[in-house]
Every structure is written in structure tokens, then in C-alpha cells.
């Protein structure tokens, strides 16, 4: 080990500008005339494969990654500070946007947090509809990643098929909520308004379509030898490392842990639904991807269950003129498509939260990146980045 190496810390701070050891890490190996040097490559922030503005500084020996450090914060918008300046009903619009692919699930989390603090009862029908919308949002999110994962590996066709489904589902969601991406449908105490006529029938039809297409995706990708060769054994994540990082969602389930908030701490009507939690075996990219496809099927099942059991009734509750949560703190964790999203809400009795900490799934998932990328090839990095599903807005808030 050269002196330079000992100067840099475990996290490879030598790579980062502004860090204590600024400058390029050069590890010179070999003696005599043939010396090699590691190449310091910057993936991002603008890069087709990083799902947004994520920057990964890697140290390459040929094609092998010796050290990788993700740098986040390019999309930091200060949501937590903004939430302190808005009242409990306005933060709904904020939380739509940190994980924009799972907008309704985020809203749901915040609404539940506020409702629990205020001890509000949400009407039955509202709960069923919330579950329905949350599952549709989950399918939307998963379809996005099904498509983009193939795209990053070079399979340019599944993304079009996935987006075709997404278009149909977004059309459905738009008919109920008015939005295709940011739904703003949940409210404290229920929902904004009831579903339009024909929504439930359309939902039933759409689940059938999604199931059929999901089988196609399985054929297209699971049955493709090159895809399997690119993803099997790539980026394995052991269970204890995943727990130590706080990784959740499909990434954790792929490691073999059936941890799902809908099952362990049911909220809304999930307690009455049999939620299937698919698990993988060794947490590699292939498993993560397969868990995703299975989750789509599981969500279709949940939607069917909701369609069979939905009740009628009101969807809103009477809110006081001023919504004030009593003093105290609560932490609510929901199973979002990307993982478990938690909101730690501290209230001082006023109209706006004192502190809203957003525990976003992607933040913890990306924290595991240095572990996953260590020793991987550059092409594997793409497979790993694509399979640890994340959204940069979620990482940075």
C-alpha cells in the first residue's frame, strides 16, 4: 500500500472535491517499467443510467471498480424545511413530489400520520379507495422500473411495452384524481372526492391486462439468456448488510427477508387483505428484478380483493376549521413501491408541523451503493444501479 492510500479514509474521500483529502486517488501498482494507475471516472450527475442526478465517483482498474462513492444532493429541495412552513393539509402537495413515481403512497403516509395524531376516523370507503389507489400507484412505479432496467441493459423493447401499460393506468388515475403523476388525491380524513363512475369496472379490466402483460415481460426478460447472464450473481446483498443499512422494499425482499409494512404493521384496510410478499434468495440483481415482477402480480391481486370488498359511504370526514395536531411526535411507516417510507412528525400544537422528517426509502437504498459496487465491473454497475430501485428526488428530497 502506498502512502497515498493510507491517507484516504475508507470512504475514499480522496476522490471527493471539498473533502479533507481532495484530489484524484492514484494507486500506483506494479514495479519497474510497467506501472498501472487507477482511473477516476465520474458517472453523472447527468448520465443516462443514473435515473436522475446521481453522481457516482468511481475508481476503476480497467473495468473493475475498486471503490465507488455516490454523491447526492443535486436535487435537494429542502422539503423538510418547506413542510415546516405549511399547514398539515398543504404538506400533502409537498410529499407528492419527493418520490414522484409513488405520489399517492407518500400522501397516504402523511395523511395517516396526521390522522393518527388527531385521532381521526377515516371512513371505510375512503380506506378501501386509498388501498386501491396505492396499489395502482405501486404498479405504475414497478412498471417504470421494469422498463428502464431492461433499457439500461440494452434491451430497448420492454420499455415501450411497459410504458404502454403505464399510459393506460395513468389514464385511469387521471379520471379519478385529475393527475397523471402527482395525484393530490388523499386528504387528511379521507380523500378529495369519490371515484368517478366506471372506475371500478375499468380497474377490473385493467388488472386483467396487467396480468397478461406481466406474463409477457417475464417471457421477454426472464427467459432471455443474455439478461439472466447480465443480472444473475451481480451485486449480491446479504441480509445482515441490508438490515444494517436500513434497506427496504424490493431490495430487501430480494435478500430473503419478507419485510413488508403492509403485513407487519397493517394500515388502512391491509389488515383484511392477504398480501403476498415475494422474496428472493441471494439478493442479486436478478432476484430484485423478479421480486418486482412478482409484486406487480401481488398488487393486481390486492386490487381485485378491493374491488370485491369495497363498501359504499362517505369518503371525507368533517375537519375542524383549523387543522391542528396536538403536541407530540409520531412515526408512521408505509410500504411504498420503492421501500418503506416513513414520516416522523413532531408537532407543537400549532397549525404547521414543527418538524417533518421524511424517511425516504431511496436514501437508505443508495447508502448501500458502495458496498454493492465494490469489485463490480462497470457494466455491472449499470445493472446494479438499475436494480436497486430509487428515484433521485427521494434520495435528496
Amino acid at each position: 500500500m502506498t502512502d497515498l492510500e493510507t491517507m484516504t479514509t475508507e470512504r475514499g474521500q480522496g476522490l471527493l472535491p471539498g473533502g479533507p483529502g481532495e484530489g484524484m486517488l492514484v494507486e500506483v501498482r506494479g514495479e519497474g517499467e510497467l506501472t498501472t494507475q487507477d482511473m477516476n471516472l465520474n458517472i453523472g450527475p447527468q448520465h443516462p443510467a443514473t435515473h436522475g442526478v446521481l453522481r457516482v465517483v468511481i475508481d476503476l482498474d480497467g473495468e473493475k471498480i475498486r471503490r465507488a462513492q455516490p454523491i447526492i444532493g443535486y436535487m435537494h429541495r429542502g422539503f423538510e424545511k418547506l413542510a415546516e412552513a405549511r399547514d398539515y393539509r398543504q404538506i400533502m402537495a409537498l410529499v407528492n413530489r419527493h418520490d414522484w413515481l409513488s405520489a399517492f403512497n407518500n400522501e397516504l403516509g402523511v395523511a395517516i400520520a396526521v390522522e393518527r395524531m388527531m385521532e381521526l376516523e377515516v371512513p371505510d370507503r375512503a380506506q378501501w379507495i386509498r388501498v386501491l389507489m396505492a396499489e395502482w400507484n405501486r404498479i405504475l412505479n414497478h412498471l417504470m422500473f421494469v422498463g428502464s432496467f431492461g433499457l439500461e441493459l440494452g434491451a430497448i423493447t420492454p420499455v415501450f411495452f411497459a410504458f404502454r401499460e403505464r399510459e393506460d393506468i395513468q389514464h385511469l388515475m387521471e379520471s379519478a384524481t385529475g393527475g397523471r403523476l402527482h395525484f393530490s388525491y388523499a386528504r387528511v380524513g379521507g380523500l378529495k372526492e369519490d371515484l368517478p363512475r366506471g372506475f371500478l369496472a375499468a380497474s377490473a379490466q385493467m388488472t386483467k391486462n396487467v396480468r397478461v402483460r406481466n406474463a409477457e415481460y417475464r417471457d421477454l426478460l426472464q427467459g432471455n439468456e443474455i439478461f439472466v447472464a447480465r443480472t444473475r450473481g451481480v451485486g449480491p446483498l446479504p441480509r445482515d448488510v441490508a438490515a444494517s443499512y436500513g434497506v427496504t422494499g424490493p431490495t430487501l425482499q430480494a435478500t430473503g427477508v419478507p419485510e413488508d409494512s403492509r403485513v407487519t404493521e397493517p394500515y388502512e384496510k391491509y389488515g383484511e387483505i392477504d398480501v403476498k410478499v415475494p422474496v428472493g434468495t441471494n439478493g442479486d440483481s436478478y432476484d430484485r428484478f423478479m421480486v418486482l415482477l412478482d409484486r406487480i402480480d401481488a398488487s393486481c391481486d390486492i386490487i381485485d380483493h378491493v374491488l370485491d370488498n369495497i363498501t359504499s359511504g362517505p369518503v371525507k370526514t368533517n375537519l375542524p376549521k383549523v387543522v391542528k395536531a396536538p403536541e407530540g411526535a409520531i412515526y408512521v411507516r408505509t410500504e411504498n413501491p420503492l421501500g418503506q417510507c416513513g414520516y416522523y412528525l413532531v408537532s407543537d400544537g400549532k397549525k404547521n408541523p414543527w418538524r417533518l422528517k421524511m424517511r425516504t426509502p431511496s436514501f437508505n437504498n443508495i447508502a448501500a451503493m458502495p458496498y454493492l459496487l465494490d469489485g463490480a465491473l462497470l457494466s455491472d454497475m449499470i445493472a446494479i444501479l438499475g436494480s436497486v430501485f430509487f428515484v433521485v428526488g427521494d434520495v435528496d428530497r
Binding site: 474521500q13 419478507p258 412478482d294 370526514t317 375537519l319 416522523y344 437508505n364
Partner: protein, 446 residues
Amino acid sequence: MTPTSSASVAAGAGTSRMEADALAEFLRERLGEAVQDVSITFGQLTVTLEPASLPEAARLCRDAPELDFDFYDHNAGVDLGEEGFAVVTHLYSLSHGHHVMLRVVAPGGREAPKVPTLTHLWRGADWHEREVYDMFGIDFEGHPGLLPRILTVTNFEGFPLRKDFLLSTREAKPWPGLKEPKEVGTDGDGSAPEAPTAGGRSSEEGADATAAQAPVSAEEKAQASQIRAERARAKAAAMRAQKAAEKEAAQAATSEEAVAAGMAGSDDEPDAQAAAAEKTTGGDTAGEGAAAVAAAAGEPEPQTPGGAADIARSDIAKDAAAGAVGGDTAAGAPGDRPGTEQPVHDPESEAKVGEGAPPAPSGAPGVEAEGRHGGAERQGTDAPPAPSYGERSYPPDEEEERPAPSDTLDEVIHFERGQAPRAPGAAPPDKAVPDDDEDAGPGDER
């Protein structure tokens, strides 16, 4: 071969899950004096620990087989005001399914808060502690490297989530929601406009349409909206009458002032007003915004009902039946400042005063940052009220209910230059008058 299997786990995984009070007992037993406080709210356990004992307590949590908190969920900083900062670490056990929150109040107060690190126990603590440092400035002793800052830019000054770090938009204009609903619009009408929040409508609806919460037919909806529209129109008419009366009085006052100050002198009027403004606000050139902050942060009682009612009325006339955001009141409405008696804008008086006179300084330019753009100031006196929510058809059938686009744009332009917007239908100001050179008003932030 599919590697996935479905595991339908029953709720409350693991028979060895400990309830919150059992956990509290266990921790008190093992940690003894280190536990300063135990609180169980909403079924969740928060244990306040002595800061120095945090690593040991965390190690116990991780390693004790009954606890087995192997999952590091997150780490949150909380600003406690005078006390300093607290750091709440949330741990979870994958095998048992129980949670705990370890809370620590950082010693060192607000100047130099320090908390021992937990990175040697869980890998996830690394980034979370970096984030807490970035947001609050809490130093984690023993952390391998808190810098470079994780979320903000590297040369960022300050720690954003501290309460003394002010949001710049809030500095320019305070949060409209600081005003409670009942403080707006003292028109004797029982149903004052609701709080300016998105959910305000639901309470109104909930109050008067309890029966309508079941899916209603289209006719009932139309009827209800019809009723609302009529009520709004009546309210608007009442307000108009009141405002007309007030305007008479105001016009009498300002015309006297103008005559006294001399109409030719273009600077006198704003000077007089600016002087008045300075006297009351302490001469801040940020002017309206700071005044509004001061006013609103203190007791935001409407000093001149006319001023507040101006805005309220125009808003009502425009949007009340639509149930949209109500009165945008705290936003630097000059009426709020004690001691000044200016109307929000007064196109008639402006026209009266003459072309040479600069326009009266209107509300702070920051007003339009949130809420309506310029429309808040627009006198809705002559325009018919907007169609109610239920009646509106897209595209709207009646064209004349919307102002022509150019009018609105001119209004915005004039407004942004700090001038008063003219009433819809009024002639645009003469371009020969160099508007830009004039003192654009105290609210000029450019």
C-alpha cells in the same frame, strides 16, 4: 425456476415481539440511570437517554437477543428551541418486529451540539448522521467523515433546518396561513371565508352538506352550487356597498392630501407616504415585506377594515363560491400596518390625482408570490363574480366573464413594476410617462 416464493406473513410477525411498555421495562432494567425519560405515544416507544451512554445503549439494543434491533431505520434531528437539539434514532427489529426510538438531547446547546456516533454499530448510520450534521450542525463524535456535506452544496453556509435559519421566501412574505379564518372579513355575515388552505373547503362542505356526503346526483350538486353562488353574490354585493362608502371617505381624505401636498410635485405624495411608511416600519427598504412580517408576526388584527376588506372582498367576489383559497390577507396589505391609511390601490383616485402623479405604492411585490397574481389587488367591483365550481363548464360558455388576456398581462407588468394595476377596462397608462424611472414604491426588491 423462479426464486421467489410467496410468504403471507400474519400481522405482528414473530411471537417474540415485545410491546412498548415491556421494551421500556427491559431497557430501564438494563440501562438504569442512562434512561432519562420514557414516553409511549401512539403505541410507539421513545426512550430519552443520556448522551454519553448512547453508543452503549445502542449496542445493547443491537446485541441483546430479546431486542435484536438489527435494522437501522433512520436518524432525525429536532430543533428544541432553547434547549438545543435532539437526535432521535429509530431502530427496528426484523426478526421480532418491534420498534424503538432512542432520543438524545445533544449537550452543548445551540452553539456546539455534539452526539456520539453509531456508525460502528450500523452502516446506515453513516449517511443519516451526515444528513443531521448538514441540516442542524450537530457534530457526531467519532464519525469517519461528516464532510463533504451530503445534501447541500459544499460551500453552503449555515444549517438549514435550524429554526433560526429563515426561509427566504418567508422572509419576503409571511405565511398567509398565520391568520386564522375568523380574523378575516368582518362583515357580519355568519360564514366568513375559510382558512387559506387546501382542505378548507371540506370543512365548509362538511358543515353544510353532511347529507350530501353520500354520492349525490348531478341535480342536487347543481342546486347546491347554485345556492352557494347566490350566497356569494349577495355577500359580494353587500361588500361592494360597504366599500363604496369607504372609498368615498378615503377619496375625500386623499384628495385633500393631494391638494395640500401639491399636485405638480410628483415626488411629494410618495415621499409623504414613504415617510409615513418609514416612521411606522423603521425605514426598511424591503419595506412592505418586513412590515408585513412585523405586523403579521405580532398581532395581525386588521387595523383598517377597509384595507383588509378590500382584498377580502375582491377575493370573495372572485372566488368565494368556487371554494378556492380565501382571503390572502397577511400579505403585506398596507391596511395592516398601523397608522397608515392608504387604500390598497385606488385607480379612481389615481386618475383623479392626475397623470403627473406617480401611482400609489401598492402592496408588496412579493404578494403575488403566493396566491393570486395581481388578481388579489384587482377591484372586482365591476366584474361579475366568477362562476361557481359546480356550474363551470370547460370551456366556459360566457366569454365576458374572463378578462381579456392582454388586460391581465398588463396588470401583471404594471404590478411587477410596483405600480398599481389599473381596473379592467381602464385605459393603459400613457407610455409617454416614464413609468420605470419613477419611484416604484417601497416594495421594489430589484
